[in-house]
Assembly symmetry: C2
Homo-oligomer: 381 residues x 2
């Protein structure tokens, strides 16, 4: 159990590693498809294996509300419940409490809120969040944190961060009392908004608590991309080399490559699945709105040369028709392609790292992607 | 090309046959999943093969409107467009013109209507309907007919029927002018509402025109089940033994068995796919509303002993959760189970016919199904 750093890039800070969990190993850098409600939207576990997913993410907040812990416990944990037998990382619920629910009160003890499903009052604390994740059978659990909004005053960010650090300590203590065979790997979450001093304080304090890995939280909450990259840099530099680093909720393909170059090992993002449901596909030349009229009789696959099952079988014309007609098969096919694209990107990144060609790969991929990425004004549907 | 009657049941009028089309043979009695918009809702062609589909149905009206004939022609026909290489039966568009669109005027020439998508004026005639189906590359085309509503006065039904017969003749003439290798098998449609004399006149006149098969139309349009069965009986008795008979748009599992017993060979119905999207599964003991509370932690598959990929992998508890959470995977899994259930039912029917045990099978299946079928009041979600 734990992380093994295999190599570090000579030009950038990119790393090639392996993370061992109870449900098997993960090659890093890794992308984790998001399975919010015990399913990566529109896909089966078998399809996730086919596109090359090594690990998926589950959302503590959503699963806690529905189907509820009792059901998942009775069904033998989240892996058995959803018939996914590779690793699962669970978030702590913190982010969703602050972004989805109607917040009532943050206290030292935890957070009181009304959930977004039926509005009923709920309470989450560091101990409860850890207990839920342990009950789910998570392979990698996240500490319970407050994710402040953007923009956020230094004063608030600082006070919030201190509480989040005390919460991290309580997560640590709770875990130490559990028997080793039920204990997930646990990651601390670096907060501190856009403030360098706070990011540093957060990272250093978490490192003192000695977690199995460290996430950068509170990014991609509405800030400009440069702020996001700076927050990553200002967190990463204080993290130990021999532990995995995870950028939560990110990002576009170029952003992922840029963050790999900044030493990040793990990613999760809803973009490939969410954009698929809107008919948008990822390609090496940027995104592609399949609703657009030029594709109406286009006999090519979404991306020529792509080996995903969608591109092996179906044309742009057919997928466009399905999306326009609001047929479920349309979003299924684009979801598969997009997940394959993201997971294949990670294979290319890992291969480039192994071959010592990551810097060139990064330059070429990002330039090609950005150059061809259509402006939204080009999208006509 | 054409129908081969293999055997007839000694007790009932059930038949075991084979229908040869340009895209391969079909064992009858057969159930045809409905692929209205060039997709059987929520499924891939590979999944349709896996559940045992031999032939699917496409809707002329929908495909004519979207993506339009030009696109499908350019993409090499409906089979290539949707990547389904087994037989396809297309309806004539008649039923949809009368049920979905805003009807403007029925003339001797054809039907003027405003389509349901953008309200723009359209026109369908017997010749146009045949041309569309030929362009789609249909293996089995249906003649263009008027489907009168229920209830319907004898006078209207009679006049409508006469026009429908003249339209059938025009379909026949149009087809005779086409080269043999583009000509689909073509079925006449018996109309005549609930009136015996009209059903007889319709059936006999169509038989005189010598089609490749005969459908019973204008059933399941709101009439009681006994009326429906009588309409089937009063059509079937005038149809030639050596041609296939098709009951359009039907039915529940017991209805299908009852109609097989009345000499029907082919069926199509949206029930397995439509009910799946609402979380209702078919089992040998009737339908099952998976939203119901008792299934919340039920570790069993939808139907014990079922060999569909859903039942092999997922529990009632998980599927219930997915349906309640409105996750696409939920309706996908139930769709697969329901289609498998219908197609497996047809295998059981064919096997019983081959073994001379159809009468017993019918009695047992229908009794078991009806006895356990829950009343809708039992459904709590």
């Amino acid at each position: 159990m734990g992380f093994k750093l295999l190599s570090t890039d000579l030009v950038t800070q990119a790393r090639r590693g392996q993370l061992q969990t109870r449900h098997g190993g993960i090659e890093t850098p890794v992308f984790m498809p998001v399975g919010t409600q015990a399913t990566v939207k529109a896909t089966t576990p078998a399809e996730l294996c086919e596109v090359g997913a090594q690990i998926i993410l589950g959302n503590t907040y959503h699963l806690f509300l529905r189907p509820g812990l009792e059901v998942i416990r009775e069904m033998g944990g989240l892996h058995r419940f959803m018939n996914w037998h590779a690793p699962i990382l669970t978030d702590s619920g913190g982010f969703q409490v602050f972004s989805l629910s109607k917040l009532r009160r943050i206290t030292e003890e935890g957070v009181h809120f009304n959930n977004h499903l039926d509005g009923s009052p709920c309470f989450l604390s560091p101990e409860i969040a850890m207990q839920i994740q342990t009950t789910l059978g998570s392979d990698i659990a996240m500490v319970f944190d407050e994710c402040p909004p953007y923009p956020c005053e230094h004063e608030y960010a600082s006070a919030s961060l201190d509480r989040t650090l005390r919460w991290a300590e309580r997560c640590r203590s709770w875990l130490e009392k559990q028997s080793a065979d039920h204990r997930p790997l646990t990651f601390g979450i670096v907060q501190g908004a856009v403030y360098h001093d706070l990011r540093k304080r957060s990272a250093c304090s978490l490192v003192d608590l000695d977690f199995d890995g460290y996430a950068v939280g509170g990014v991609s909450v509405g800030e400009p991309e440069e702020e996001m990259m700076r927050a990553i840099e200002n967190s990463e530099r204080f993290l130990p080399i021999q532990k995995p680093r995870y950028a939560m909720g990110l990002g576009t393909p170029p952003q992922i490559i840029e963050m790999v170059a900044r030493g990040i090992d793990m990613f999760d993002c809803v973009l490939p699945t969410r954009l698929a449901r809107n008919g948008t596909a990822f390609t090496a030349r940027g995104t592609m709105n399949l609703k657009n009229n030029p594709y109406r009789a286009d006999p090519r696959p979404i991306e020529e040369g792509c080996e995903c099952s969608t591109c092996q079988q179906f044309t742009r014309a057919y997928i466009r028709h399905l999306i326009k007609a609001e047929e479920i098969l349309g979003l299924r096919l684009v979801t598969i392609h997009n997940l394959y694209f993201y997971l294949r990107l990670m294979i290319l990144i890992r291969t480039a790292l192994e071959q010592g060609t990551f810097a060139q790969f990064r330059e070429q991929f990002v330039a090609n992607y950005i150059k061809h990425e259509p402006k939204s004004s080009e999208d006509e549907s």
